[in-house]
């Protein structure tokens, strides 16, 4: 992603801390999918995978969203179970990982469920399963979304983003 976008995301992270920032990134990602024309989209704050998206071709994805500044992400047994559950409903399980570092973008990894195990997973490893075509469309959309919603998010945090999700027709489950 562009340096500017990275700078804005880092400022959000510094402002809200790593945990809330993860949720902010998740909502920004949902808005980015919306911008790409995915519908319906469900964003969850509590149980289940973080985001459900359905593409124009009807292809369904269940996204477990992870952000980090390090080289790996942590997958809990619950995360894996959530992905399994969504797979049962016809959603392809996808791990969406964003490393906050120069030149990095969202990696959308369609990892086979039988190859997933709980623990730390190197983001580098996820590259083997990346959905490059979706990622290539997603990257510029995400940049635009961050640019558009940075000020509002900086001011009102997740509350602002939840409003935006509702405005764009994204269903929010959880609080």
């Amino acid at each position: 992603m562009r340096m500017r976008t990275l700078g804005l995301l880092r400022e959000l992270r510094n402002r809200f801390g790593p945990g809330p920032f993860g949720k902010i990134a998740q909502k920004l990602l949902a808005l980015s999918f919306r911008e790409l024309g995915y519908a319906p989209i469900v964003e969850r704050s509590v149980e289940g995978v973080d985001i459900d998206v359905v593409g124009e071709t009807g292809k369904k994805f269940g996204l477990e969203v992870k952000t980090t500044e390090g080289l790996s992400i942590g997958l809990s047994p619950n995360n894996i179970q959530d992905l399994r559950d969504r797979a049962k409903d016809g959603y392809s399980p996808v791990i969406a990982a964003l490393r906050l570092a120069v030149f990095e973008n969202w990696i959308l990894a369609k990892v086979p469920l039988d190859e997933l195990s709980a623990g730390q997973v190197l983001i580098e490893r996820l590259r083997a399963y990346r959905m490059s075509d979706v990622e290539n469309l997603l990257a510029p959309a995400f940049e635009r979304v961050v640019e558009e919603h940075y000020q509002g998010t900086l001011k009102n945090g997740q509350r602002y983003l939840s409003e935006q999700l509702r405005k764009t027709g994204i269903e929010i489950r959880g609080f």
Binding site: M3, L71, A101, V102, F103, R125, R127, A128, Y129, S132
Partner: protein
């Protein structure tokens, strides 16, 4: 089924020379002898003759054969093994040879088929494979019981026993692949790539941080200079440049001079050259401004007026002083004429005294003058020559001094004193005269200098000045006029300078805008790294490596699964036979049934073998060496029985390594069963107890070869006993 007929070796391993032809056609061939007498070489020779390089080194899957397992005897130049095998089609003879030191060129293989056809090289190899119909790995698992395999199972610690059993089951290819995967350290290579990428990232982050801080400072400076943050862009810069040009034109017009054209910047990068050009033009306009020029000239004129006035006043004061001094002098010492008169009088008075002295002693004046002349003589000249008459008189000066002292001095002393006083007085008068002359000269000079100052003032004021004029006053009036004009100009300049400052500030803002845009471009240039072909290539490599690492992991898993699957298949096929042979050889009453359980070894990812009894309990006594040996033999013989290949013989090398007496006897009973089932056996052993059981309990015909007296040059002495 294939049966061995006969064998002959030469230069092969323990046989430096040609052996006799060994008859292997009987149901049991027993090779007796102590260690290192050549028994194993005979078994190895059969194996090598059939499989060549496949049974040598790492390819063999037998650890002991990796490095240092020599084919050609050290005292031979080459190795040759001849083997005859009988099948339903008749006898096929195989001759494999290797010349030492020639590599592949020194290897040859020849096969003579039952119909007499002779094949060599690859064709011969193909004929052998067609005849034997068994890979080397299967041959090593189901035909040839290597003593290394038994030893491995018997003496390896439990953690490594699994590996030995894998090899006994012919799974060494899988193990080798897994070992290769492990040693390739693919994941480490990926980690290395990640670290290197991380280093690159750190360097980029650092460069970025520095530039972003610079940008922040520069933006703050720009905002402080009056720009709005939203104006920090190229459009604003180009607009600003046009404004500067317009301001400069208006300024030139205000100054009343024409502005030279300054080229507009085509983009933000032209801003520095535009700034330089504009600044130069601005400097020129300012320096050529009429007000400024006049100010400069007036300042120069005022300085000159000041100097002239000061000079005039100083000269006038100097003249006053020069006039007063002669008057004072004359008041004290008289006029010039009066001093001259006194000098003349003194001269006359002195002449009179001289006359008096001459009158007192006519000679005195001459002596006195003579002494004076001689005393003034140079050291190198003689003082004996009279200065008056020129005659030479020895010690003339001394004579004259003596005469002066003794006869003349007393007579003229008073007159001389008088004359000295007159001389002193005259000298003083002459000095006064000189002083008076100097004062008169100074007065003239002061008058002249004052006239010069007046003349210069007249020139400056551009008018004639007479004695009736006061130049100082006139100059003061002129200075006042200049000051008034300078004040007027200063007022006029003040407004223009404000305009000039405004333009300079505009130029400074352009410069700041340029710096901001330049830093943004530098940051952008870092960003461009991600768009470069090299970076994309790096990304592709990262993806490729990630896929490769996963592929290798999948391959590793598949190999393990296949290995486990094959182990299970083999155990399933041979399980009953293994159990049967185990009961017969080991005879452990606690184990009525041997069940081999195969699971994944969580530590190594390989197979883990657990032996359980009929109740599913882990079979503890299996840990005794004899039981382990019995287990290995049972597994081998079970696989032999279960594996339906056409080879009708079994090779066993030192099978009784850790067996007890009863177990040895039971083993021979099992071997007899094997023989009776139609398979011939070739057994090499140093164990005399086993030999005794073999001879007494094997019910089939047997040929015994006794190996002894092995020497490095001669090899073993092999004696056939029927």
């Amino acid at each position: 089924m294939l049966q061995l007929k006969y064998l002959q070796v030469e230069g092969f391993r323990g046989f430096p020379t040609k052996s006799d032809v060994l008859d292997l056609a009987t149901p049991a061939v027993l090779l007796y002898g102590d260690n290192h007498q050549g028994k194993s070489s005979i078994l190895n020779a059969i194996e090598w003759c059939l499989y060549g390089d496949q049974c040598v080194g790492g390819r063999s899957g037998i650890r002991e054969r990796v490095g240092g397992w020599e084919i050609v005897n050290r005292n031979a130049s080459g190795a040759t093994v001849g083997l005859a095998i009988e099948s339903e089609q008749g006898v096929t003879t195989i001759k494999r040879a290797q010349v030492k030191g020639l590599g592949k060129k020194g290897r040859s293989i020849e096969v003579i088929l039952p119909d007499g056809t002779r094949k060599e090289g690859d064709e011969a190899e193909q004929e052998i494979m067609r005849l034997v119909g068994l890979s080397f790995r299967d041959f090593a698992t189901t035909v040839y019981q290597h003593q290394e395999t038994i030893r491995a199972i018997v003496i390896q610690p439990p953690s490594e026993r699994n590996d030995a059993i894998d090899r006994l089951l012919g799974l060494s290819d899988y193990l080798n692949v897994l070992d290769g995967i492990r040693r390739s350290k693919i994941a480490d290579a990926q980690k290395n790539l990640i670290n290197q990428r991380k280093q690159l990232e750190t360097r980029i982050e650092e460069a970025l941080r520095i530039r972003q801080e610079d940008l922040k400072d520069k933006k703050r400076e720009a905002v402080d200079s009056g720009l709005d943050e939203s104006e920090l862009n190229e459009e604003k810069l180009l607009e600003g440049a046009e404004n500067v040009k317009k301001q400069m034109e208006e300024f030139a017009s205000e100054l009343g001079i024409s502005a030279a054209p300054v080229s507009s910047p085509s983009d933000w990068k032209d801003a520095p050259s535009f700034g330089d050009e504009a600044q130069k033009e601005l400097d020129r306009l300012w320096s050529e401004s009429p007000d400024l020029k006049e100010q400069s000239e007036l300042n120069a004129r005022r300085t000159e007026a000041d100097a002239l006035k000061t000079n005039y006043e100083s000269q006038r004061q100097a003249l006053g002083t020069a006039k007063a001094k002669p008057q004072e002098f004359e008041r004290e010492y008289g006029t010039q004429a009066e001093i001259n008169h006194q000098i003349e009088n003194t001269r006359k008075e002195n002449d009179a005294v001289d006359d008096q002295i001459r009158q007192v002693s006519p000679k005195a004046k001459l002596v006195e003058e003579g002494i004076a002349v001689l005393e003034a003589t140079r050291p190198d000249e003689s003082t004996d020559v009279c200065p008056l008459c020129g005659e030479t008189v020895p010690n003339l000066l001394d004579h004259l001094r003596k005469e002066w002292a003794e006869r003349i001095e007393a007579q003229v002393r008073a007159l001389k004193a008088r004359r000295a006083a007159l001389a002193e007085k005259r000298a003083k008068l002459i000095d006064l005269k000189t002083q008076h002359e100097s004062l008169t000269e100074n007065l003239a000079k002061a008058r002249e200098q004052l006239a010069g100052a007046v003349q210069r003032a007249a020139e400056f004021l551009d008018r004639e000045l007479t004695d009736q004029d006061d130049p100082a006053a006139l100059l003061s009036i002129e200075i006042g006029k200049i000051d008034d004009r300078l004040k007027q100009i200063a007022e006029a300049i003040k407004g223009k300078r404000e305009t000039l400052n405004r333009i300079s500030q505009s130029l400074n803002r352009l410069s700041l805008l340029h710096d901001v845009l330049e830093l943004e471009e530098k940051i952008g240039r870092i960003e461009k790294i991600a768009e470069s072909d090299e970076y994309r290539e790096l990304e592709n490599i990262r993806d490729g490596v990630a896929v490769f690492v996963v592929d290798v992991e999948v391959l590793d898993r598949i190999v393990r699964e296949c290995m486990a699957e094959e182990a299970k298949d083999k155990m399933k096929a041979a399980g009953d036979a293994i159990d049967d042979y185990f009961q017969k050889i080991v005879g452990n009453p606690a184990a009525q049934k041997l069940i081999v359980e195969i699971e994944e070894d969580k530590r190594t990812g390989g197979n883990s073998y657990t032996f359980r009894d009929q109740d599913g309990e882990e079979f503890k006594p299996i840990s005794s060496l004899g039981d382990m040996n019995g287990l290995a033999l049972s597994m081998f013989l079970g696989l032999v029985k279960a594996y339906g290949h056409p080879i009708g013989f079994v090779l066993m090398d030192d099978p009784s390594q850790s067996l007890g007496s009863r177990q040895k006897k039971r083993l021979v009973e099992v071997l007899d069963e094997v023989c009776r089932s139609g398979r011939n056996i070739v057994v090499g052993t140093m164990d005399s107890e086993l030999q005794e059981f073999l001879e007494s309990s094997l019910t089939r015909a047997k040929t015994i070869y006794e190996f002894s007296k092995w020497g490095p040059q001669s090899g073993p002495e092999v004696v056939k006993r029927v």
